[in-house]
Symmetry: C2
């Protein structure tokens, strides 16, 4: 096993002998899917083939098995693993439970290969609650992944229809599209008709963990009357969704009665849907919500299926003006308290974070979360660093996401250009995913994640050597890069040209640098020293104006 | 004067009696241009009219006088100011020269109104070299603006044709387009035919400072042979361009012979066009470049016209791998040395910065620049925080730009989606400008610039109160915001709806918050206290699982 991780190249060679699924050609023309072998495990990766005698570059792949009919769903990779656990009569299926017993599950070993780390590190991080593997026993199509700040920063893509628009087929296609471009998890936020059916189709076709906000379906069940919600309809809904295979639930159990007045004088009040639903319930009944008072009953359901908590920040700020306020941090204290309760049951937990935060207030969010929530993984929505650019909130939030990812956030929930304005279409989903892949990778670079810089270097080298096709193929979106280049230099010959339309031949700095290198190689070092000895450091009298 | 600044509303009322130019309706449907009065000065601003009984919001405006034929050019606002200085026989026209003599020029007073600060602050910042007003005495169409870290963060848009593509008319239109969306300065980087004529058209029609890289035209004059360049052709070109009215020159005088070998083992060598041209010259002649040795002769030209130095970073990194390396910081030392020389002549200076820098290495750039270059304004290109997303480098660089702006960079040079791939078209220019307006404003917010948060608050309030039209009109790109909303809810009625397509009526958190506020108003405070007294802080035994 260790040898495998230490010699990834060998694994590829070995994998070459096998029949391999193909990564969607439309997105990555020069890539192929490879399967890294570890005993009975086959872990997917994408390999970008390069020119100029460069070895192929292997990158993390979330696209899942290709070419299966949505009606058929994906193969059930995890079926045999789960069957063994059922056969031996396990009661708590949580990865945290197994980790704390010192067991190395298939999911942990799978993730270790994906992240190129030792499986023991995966197990230990999960055992101490610093990372989670969202993997419902009933989502057997899942290719396991890990969320924790000592691993690659992950991104989530939200999809889901609403009362107003979109169909099941559209949502399944959005999920497939999002994972093809690199989404690590997908949340189904459907609030319209056919919530159950839509979710079923999405899970059966998803190679990544699926998250939901169960309170949405509960509200449909009580005909939109928040005050009619109760623990029974909630638990029934949790079980219904857990049976389908949802991997993590966003639950807004931290909205306490006494916190609600803290939002009254806010610029934008409560902007979390779940948060405002629970706030309304609390006020209507004037008591703490059943999500808080019955939290341990919820834990009982979670561990039976290994559904992970994504403790929702129902009181997150909805504007720059409300960032880091009393309501937000009061709720965080309660989320920290509930984290301990969940861990008592060996239930996996991550914590949701804002939202809208100006740059100088971002780090405080990360520091407080790590301290108050005992290092449980942080999962933030952006944050947006300004509110003045609706239509461009993938960018306003991508800035905050990159920064908070660097500071330690484990997963970044994407924001699309349609945020605050409408539901994302396929193009918006792609733009959101690519923007957040940028933010997550920039964070990995800043954290000095081993191997993160490999891809930057491969692309920079290709750029410097005018290997245009390699530059396109190594990018997050090869077709767009190539199309942009074609706009000004469509000829195929230009793809080998030692200049581009930006400067033209005479002005190409990279071309000029070739000369510089040649001459530099010829003993510049000595001559430079000679010059220094002459005192070149100082501004020379010789260069005073002559007139 | 001070009263005017202290009572801006009065000024608007006053301005209302005048005939006012109209801001382009295509971009800002609910805005109008206003002129703020101060004695004989008329300073432009844009006023966004709002609904819901809200007062109009005034924003900084760079669009310049509207509706003039490119062939006619803009009115010469500064003609009388300059005439007075010529009449009294001034020899040094630099704003720094006047500032150091304690003089408050029209440009300083104009800028003070624009930035809503005291003119004395403007003068003092210029006198100590911490800010510049790029304003060539021959660019009399200019509406003066200031670049310094104690003022609003500015953005620059690059345009210019190359040997490969685009026409004069296109470039003039790109300039007009860029300033309409908010570009504070524009650089003409033309390297193709008709450089002189293209520049003439751009300057005569530009309300913002124009910058150039004179060495490009010099290289054309010596038929592309870098080694044939010399101080005479350079000075002749400076005078030619200064006569036309160029406001700042990028000059790569910091590329010293002994620094060149430091780039030999780089991933991407020298990526600055000017830098590589000068490096080639240095190697060909094996001596220091005439830009460095004849620097004071260059200063003589600069002060005669008041052209500001933008000391170019010819050895900036071209990839994440090369960030913050020896070559880059060695050149910075020389730029600091040259800054002192320029200041000896009262010539205004800003310093150019990278480029490509991972997030964790950005702050070091800012700190070193402030220290080594004696707080002269920093003017950075991005920086890009990763190299893996060609086609999206407005985003990879927007992240770095926002951060370095927060740290103290005075002006951010935009990067368009076409960076590294081709020349930007009109759409790319707009995307680049909007992205950088986001970065600059996010930086102003993080720096706590007084008034920066006004616009965020106005938009957030409009959002919370479902004033959709106001939300669109307050954004950086109203038409795009409106079009996105129309995609899912085209009906005009939806523009007043108290929900949107994202959640639909039942799930609208903002709608739910209205109820929360009502109930909260009814003495929630007391009840909350009562609850706290009951010890609500602690996780309740009552909430243990019943089964």
């Amino acid at each position: 096993m260790f040898i495998h991780v230490a010699n990834p190249r060998f694994l590829v060679t070995f994998a070459n002998f096998m029949k391999l699924p193909i990564v969607s050609e439309e997105s990555f023309p020069a890539s192929r899917k490879i399967m890294v072998q570890d005993g009975e495990l086959e872990v997917p990766a994408r390999e970008v083939s390069l020119g100029g005698g460069e070895p192929p570059l292997r990158v993390y792949d979330t696209s899942g098995p290709q070419g299966f009919e949505p009606t058929a769903g994906l193969p059930k990779l995890r079926a045999p693993w789960i069957a063994r656990r059922v056969a031996r009569g396990d009661a708590n299926f949580s990865q945290m439970h197994y980790a704390r017993r010192g067991e190395l599950t298939e999911e942990m070993r799978f993730v270790a290969i994906r992240e190129n780390v030792a499986p023991e590190l995966v197990r230990d991080e999960i055992a101490r609650g610093r990372a989670i593997i969202p993997a419902n026993r009933n989502h057997q199509e899942l290719e396991p992944m890990i969320i924790g700040r000592n691993f690659l920063v992950k991104i989530n893509a939200n999809i889901g229809n609403s009362a107003v628009t979109s169909t099941i087929a559209e949502e399944v296609e959005k999920m497939r599209w999002a994972t093809q471009w690199g989404a690590d998890t997908v949340m189904d936020l459907s609030t319209g008709k056919n919530i159950h059916e839509t979710r079923e189709w999405i899970i059966r076709n998803s190679p990544v963990p699926i998250g939901t906000v169960p309170i949405y379906q509960c509200l449909e069940k009580v005909k939109g009357k928040a005050e009619d919600l109760n623990i029974d309809v909630f638990l029934e809904t949790l079980i219904e969704q857990a049976e389908q295979g949802v991997d993590y639930f966003t639950i807004h159990a931290g909205v306490l009665l006494r916190y609600i007045p803290l939002t009254a004088r806010r610029m934008t009040g409560i902007v979390s849907r779940g948060g405002s639903i629970m706030a309304k319930w609390c006020l209507a009944h004037h008591k703490e919500s059943f999500l808080y008072t019955e939290f341990e009953r919820i834990c009982e359901v979670m561990k039976k299926y290994d559904v992970s908590f994504s403790l929702g920040d129902g009181l997150r700020p909805g504007s720059i003006a409300d960032a880091n306020d009393a309501a937000q941090f009061a709720e965080l204290e309660t989320l920290g308290e509930l984290t301990k309760v969940a861990w008592k049951h060996d239930v996996q937990v991550m914590i949701e974070g804002p939202g809208h935060v100006p740059m100088h207030k971002i780090k405080e969010n990360m520091d407080k979360q790590l301290e108050i929530c005992h290092e449980a993984p942080f999962y933030t929505l952006g944050p947006l660093v300004t509110d003045i650019a609706p239509g461009y909130d993938h960018i306003t939030s991508g800035i905050g996401a990159a920064m908070i990812g660097w500071f330690g956030t484990a997963m970044l929930c994407y924001v699309t250009p349609k945020e605050h304005l409408g539901l994302p279409n396929k193009d918006d989903v792609k733009t959101g995913v690519i923007t957040y892949k940028i933010a997550a990778h920039a964070a990995d670079l800043a954290k000095g994640h081993p191997g993160a810089i490999e891809r930057d270097n491969a692309l920079s080298k290709a750029r410097f050597e005018f290997r245009w096709q390699d530059q396109f193929n190594l990018s997050l979106d090869p077709t767009t890069a190539k199309d942009f280049h074609d706009e000004t230099l469509p000829a195929d010959a230009a793809k080998n040209a030692h200049f581009c339309s930006m400067c033209g031949p005479n002005f190409c700095s990279m071309k000029l640098t070739e000369d510089v290198r040649k001459i530099a190689a010829e003993g510049m070092q000595e001559k430079a020293k000679e010059f220094r000895d002459k005192g070149g450091e100082i501004y020379q009298p010789a260069s005073e104006p002559t007139a």
